[in-house]
Point group: D3
Chain length 158, copies 6
């Protein structure tokens, strides 16, 4: 049976000791999708119509959120991250995809930082648009790939 | 055309002025679903098998995350929230539902606080279990209801 | 001789007790000026040339900075601020003015929140442009007016 | 034309990737000047008259502010800074100069940390003295020198 | 059997709902004692000998710590505190007592804020003096009194 | 006479420059004791009776508190800690001992992080149990050992 590394043999939660792991380049990619009314997505797409740039606000929130990961996720290691990008794609007329890439040169991976960046960006899209569309849903927050450390990972399509 | 209240007439982002709104009791309910391998959910369900209580950690993270909402979401008002609950339900053998309820007595609603609580709890479940299951997906982060303020809202089923 | 209210009679620093002051609408306006090379200001003005919107980033930083005031200024009261706006004006070909307005409904004023918003926005302009202009200077951070509480204040011109 | 490194080729803001830059000793020096009524500066100078030490409070605020830089400036890298000093000089009977020195051993510079330390110290002087002098102005926040990294910089006099 | 209010009937931790409690003036007093070598306390007492004012640093840390209570204590309500004082007494030649008073006008008490202020001040004394005395011990962190809310409390002597 | 390293020769507080110290494995162990009514400790011990797990909450608070040390202790270096454990022992029928171990691979020690972890865990025990026992006292917060850096330290028994 696999084990949850965040518990020790007595069942106590802990921040896993990574002191002696070597520092390597780490990268993680995560994404999220925000589903909304087509009229809402039309507003987001047309900065003039919306009178403002929703995605620019959400992008910054995602980048800044990545820096707060260690404050939010109880057993996460605090990490001096060395790069963050957040990008957006329109999947169809009611779906916005958010992609976050986080890098560090450190002793442990940045999966949680990438997932947090995507999540905070998605929540910010919700906040910016909730006055016109309360039924938006954030879907499909997931790790897409990670590099560096013991093993790499690339999510299989579908 | 509906308007995005977080932009002023020149397109500048702003924290909307709620100074003169009256204080009322506000409540928001939000939820999220984490989909995972059945073996992962089995571990979460059986605290002995897992050697620790994943949901207790995630619940605390969600409650504490609600308190950080104003730090994470750029245009959110900082709010002295007065109550938070985070609960879990097993939907089927591979799906965990997270429900967050946030209350305050204030000038604006706590939708973002409830959504943030659910999101941070879900991210923490991911973090706790990622050593055994990297392909978990967080789905369906959404507002379920809000009360207090100008208008109430209850999400329609389905 | 006037007294510094942040020290008690023994010289100890303290957070002044405002528990029994009544809650009123408070507003403060503060500003800052960033002086830079004309070529730098030209870049900021022309979002296409710059390939990005420096002022949109600085505006958000100022708004979020206002929310962190109580964390930064040791003896400041933490305040649930209820509105923030940050705006920009080009004074001449090398000077950018930043104006911040902060409001709350509370027991003490928001001068420090407005000054912090203007300062953090100015520092962010510096950060965004420092790769092309290291000699920028932030000038003239000042309180322009305050309303609410014991006395109002409007800075005299010049 | 020089480029703003905080935007990518599509105009999106990003935290610049410094993962593969080598770690070196970095130092930055920044300063600010607070101009005030001579009576206010006299109070600051005479700890007995003021009944407390304004500069000791401002110094600590500056040091602690340097540690919060990554939380405040959206695209700044979070950095484990390794040394901070904040010092004060009386320039004339109405001007207080604040000098901040920040050091780290890292992949990117600490200019923003030094500028933030000087700014937060200056804002704290304002906060401590605002009960006797609301018209104080913070002037001349600027980078004085930086060492380490691709290029050194020393501001020319005047 | 008394009940722990931070758990609900299912055993889940929660932030207790205080939304409908009325706002009243609340005050809490807490204290701590730091025991150290007499030579260390002599240094603290004699600012000239120590070349700096340990207690002024610890006082500010305590005041700022009170403002972070909601971030540190998982189920604490975030509170806009309205007054904090931290004072010091020499109990004997090796014991320093720290007293913290915190006030708010709110829906729940500030016991944790006062205890956190005293604790952070004590930890800061330790930090400032640890280069000369590693065996210092922080003793007797306790609530001395609380006023406001359902019931008052004054600790009995001894 | 020993010197307090956090002051420079002019008496100014500073964050000591550790830029050129070499990175080594650092570990610190600290502890605290919470004394309470036997009935309170009985509740803590019997998770069923208490209807919830006080120590699980306190453990997480301690781990998360260790990550906030640089925000709380003014002159502490911010450190990317690489491991934290918090454990509990029942000393007798009214005394709960908290042990914290913190590790990093860095330029300075983690004594303050371990002491902060123990303190925040103890304060959280207080918070969780204060509805049934207000007279609890936190005793004996102390450094038990440190390894790494210039000199090791082990506290002598008693």
């Amino acid at each position: 049976m696999s084990e949850l590394s965040h518990f020790d043999e007595t069942g106590a939660a802990r921040m896993v000791d990574v002191s002696v792991k070597s520092e390597t380049l780490r990268e993680a990619r995560a994404s999220a999708v925000v589903r909304m009314n087509p009229a809402t997505l039309a507003l987001i797409k047309d900065v003039k119509l919306a009178k403002g740039d929703v995605l620019a606000v959400a992008r910054l929130a995602g980048i800044m959120g990545a820096k707060r990961t260690g404050d939010l996720i109880p057993l996460c290691h605090p990490l001096p991250i060395t790069g963050v990008q957040v990008d957006f794609t329109y999947l169809d007329d009611s779906s916005l995809r958010i992609d976050a890439v986080v890098r560090t040169f450190g002793r442990t991976g940045v999966e949680m930082e990438a997932l947090t960046a995507a999540s905070v960006a998605a929540l910010t899209v919700y906040d910016m648009c909730k006055s016109v569309d309360r039924v938006m849903i954030i879907e499909s927050i997931r790790l897409d790939s990670k590099r560096g450390g013991k093993s790499d990972f690339v999510r299989e399509p579908g």
